[in-house]
Symmetry: C2
Subunit: 531 residues, 2 copies
């Protein structure tokens, strides 16, 4: 365990402050603060989830052992390729691997041992606002927004390329959303900024328009270095070298390849003690076998290789086992989401990550639908339920994902964050206190009466049930008289209201100036590139 290992005090604080969405709401009661929460003013932000309910585990020990054995067989017999990175190959050679060209064959158990010897089981990712710092691993679940879409869409503007303004908007909405615990990374691609410079504006936006933790750039090693340099301006250089303030997404090039861009970024972050999520991003049937168990085996083997490399770069560097699996449509070859096979992969990979002893990343509000309609909602709800049930620790794409990840949807974002709030309540479990048991209420009311006016209901009513920000529960007649809007139209109204009431968290002017100077210098040092 390194210095990232979880701080018990921080953990206790988080538990106090979370305890399910309901407890969170109750603790800061009053009509004004509830109205504030509906406006999304950030006053009622929830800490990351600390679950009080068990996990859903679909595989027994024997089956898990088979997957682990097969992953080791893959690593030993077939091996992984580390392309274009002689340093990585040298590290593997020194660790005792058989390296032939760019192909690395691993002695059985080597990767597992490297990870278990030094990687933390849980760690704190610090935010500039300490109340927004998150625990990653253990019983914690963190929700972060969608990552990577080149397009954005909303009901009025339709589907279009994302811009820096859209990027800022999603950062602001994520800042305001009570059950989004993390500002995420590439909430959409700001395609109006040169591709070699946009990482600077993206990282800056997370730092300025939110006080939640965020992700670093991975599209080139020097952009990872820029992210670290900016983090040092925000947090202080010493703090960054000794604490984790960024987490970054390192995808394998499945099957069984790690490329130089991703490995380059991984090395930068690990060297600076920043967290990396090693994720085989898999379309099963194309990039992995078309079975659940086969997909798990390959995912585990690839992730083991990435996480172990991080340990070779800097023992104790925080790593997360990532699993992103979709299944393939037989009609079109396109990825499908919210379907049963990826859910089974998620459940099994969660078990495998816990056996390994590292945090687990998967899930989110994934869907293939082109619209934020019923298909999108069924698919997303299926994946979000699996995310909570399967014990995911870090949840990318928890809100806003549309069309297989090609689109960041404003309306979908508002729908998803409502669902996240519900999951946080379920994670809090059943209140079995005397007030929860409510025997006084049952005695007071008795047969044939109603509970609306009884003392227990009066005392608990306002905080008793989750209040959806998007759902319409009125009668048909009332709903119709109010315009008969569908969910998308209501969500559209809501995100516009939120952005109108957004207020910056405030950034120290000296820090802001230093960040802007850094960005200006870096931008001036290179020509614009758009591809």
């Amino acid at each position: 365990m390194s210095d990232q290992a979880v701080d018990d005090k921080a953990d206790a604080t988080a538990e106090e402050q979370t305890g399910g969405g309901r407890a969170g709401r109750r603790g800061r009661g009053g009509a004004e603060s509830r109205r504030a929460a509906r406006r999304g003013s950030g006053q009622q932000q929830l800490r990351h989830i600390l679950r009080k309910v068990p996990r859903f585990e679909v595989m027994n020990d024997e089956a898990l052992g088979i997957i682990e054995h097969n992953a080791d067989t893959l690593l030993e017999e077939i091996g992984l390729e580390f392309r274009g990175d002689p340093e990585a190959l040298q590290l593997w050679r020194e660790a005792g691997c058989d390296v032939q060209g760019e192909r690395v064959h691993f002695p059985r158990g080597l990767c597992r041992k490297l990870i278990q010897d030094s990687a933390p089981a849980r760690f704190t990712q610090h935010a500039r606002n300490p109340e927004r710092s998150v625990e990653i691993g253990g019983d914690a679940t963190v929700f972060a927004p969608v990552y990577g879409p080149p397009f954005v869409s909303d009901l009025e503007g339709g589907r279009r390329y994302g811009t820096m303004e859209d990027f800022r908007n999603f950062v602001k909405l994520a800042y305001m959303a009570p059950a989004i615990h993390h500002s995420g990374g590439t909430v959409c691609e700001p395609t109006d900024v040169p591709v070699n410079k946009r990482h600077l504006d993206m990282v800056y936006s997370h730092m300025r328009y939110s006080d939640k933790p965020f992700m670093g750039s991975v599209t080139a090693p020097e952009r990872a270095e820029d992210s670290v340099a900016m983090a040092k301006l925000l947090f202080g250089a010493d703090f960054v070298e000794n604490n984790t303030v960024m987490i970054s997404l390192i995808n394998a090039n499945s099957p069984m390849v790690w490329d130089d861009t991703m490995v380059g970024a991984l090395k930068v972050y690990a060297r600076h003690n920043q967290a990396v999520i090693c994720t085989p991003f898999i379309l099963a049937g194309a990039m992995a076998p078309c079975t659940v168990a086969g997909t798990m085996t390959q995912t585990l083997a690839e992730a083991l290789g990435g996480m172990a490399l991080a340990q070779l770069v800097r023992p104790g560097a925080p790593v997360v086992l990532g699993s992103f699996a979709s299944s393939m449509s037989m009609q079109s070859g396109a990825p499908t989401f919210g379907t049963p096979e990826p859910a089974l992969v998620l459940y099994g990979m969660g078990q495998l990550a816990r056996r390994l002893g590292v945090p687990f990343r998967s899930g989110g509000g994934l869907c293939a639908s082109k619209l934020p309609d019923a298909q999108a909602a069924y698919e997303s709800a299926n994946t979000l339920n699996a995310t909570l049930m399967g014990g995911v620790n870090f949840t990318l794409h928890a809100a806003g994902w549309l069309e297989g990840g090609l689109v960041s949807s404003y309306e979908k974002f508002m729908m998803d964050i409502d669902q996240l709030g519900m999951l946080q309540v379920i994670a809090g479990g059943v209140d079995i206190s005397e007030n929860g048991q409510a025997m006084d209420a049952i005695r007071e009311v008795g047969p044939g009466k109603h509970y609306l006016g009884c003392a227990h209901t009066q005392a608990n009513f306002e905080t008793a049930f989750y209040r959806s920000s998007v759902a319409d529960n009125n009668s048909f007649e009332q709903w119709q008289s109010e315009g008969g809007l569908d969910t998308t139209a209501r969500a559209h109204r809501l995100w516009k209201q939120w952005l109108e009431s957004y207020q910056e968290p405030g950034l120290d002017p000296g820090v802001d100036e230093a960040l802007q100077d850094f960005i200006r210098q870096r931008k001036d040092s290179m020509p614009d590139a758009f591809a």
Copy 2:
């Protein structure tokens, strides 16, 4: 255990034939049968689910013990009212209860003992087609359509009162839907038939247009008698008295009241050895305390009273513990669905039913939305996931429910049955066979290649992944070129196609004549009533 106790042979057959939707599909492969399945021709019907995955349990033994203790306290101290039924009060008196007026106070543990002494833990509900018979209880999960809506809706016809034609349509769709295991009961209210006669046409429709098991009428004791009489014409009188061929929905009038209509129907069915689902139908905050634990306590107490009464009427009568809980919108007082508190009630009540040793009914595709839109889908998916995870044995409202149960929606029905197929695959768990492990594929492909053409993919591709009947997974451009339809529009097209290709399962002409004669005589014996 009575003669309803599960027949091991039937069970084995079911397991063979189910094994998750995927195995089911694989077993009867070929392109023709898959096309047939998409047409919904009934050729690829799935047996009820026999789960190979665990259940999600949110409460520990101590917490469950507290709820059980509190339920007994309610039954002893406060008691339940059995209104307008002197026979029920007499049965309770003879069983040792303290009966004051219509209020019955139960010695602690009495109801539990009556149930555990004689009620079966699982039973078979026979269908006229033995391949459609279902197991209720244990590891089995049965999906049945929505029950009770006075309205129907579809994209063209809008929201309107249900008719007998709509009723027949939903029976036909349920018959054709592979993952609907049960024809259900009042799939919509046929409001164009006199209220005192419509039960005859409803029961007849289930018998004629489907060969799946079905539910009996409960709106008056004599209508329950009619249902039993018709079942005897279909199955033979002896068979009915010794086997369960109907299951019926007996709702408590919460809080803590059983009324004469429901108890009258319960007595008829129990006397004839037919199954009853004793369900406290609860809007928490109005009809039960506004807490999860309080709602569980009252649900358990009320259900215990109903199920124990059935045992007094006929020891060994099959009973099901029902839980239907919604939480209340603070804005309107309306019920909300798909929210976290009812999910927690479902999980806990499932545990309590298993401790008691009776089958459990809850869940479904519940929603409050007025449209089959994103709200409807999120809410329904949340409840459907909880249904499977929580180990529900009999699932009413699994498809077609809209607007808090006021509407049977054609499009929603098609969306929901697609989800049910997915749940059935998840329940099958992970295939860890050699073919499932797919090590040959991993060896054949290796780093940087793809799996599309490898031998393992060729052999497994067609059955590898669940194929949604409603989702569109195509590219944006292709989806747009095909009309850019949303999910509702696609579901609309689908149910119309299905009804066009519907073919009757065929009913013995002698039986059909006897049923029609019976109906004619019964209808002639009473004047029309519409209220």
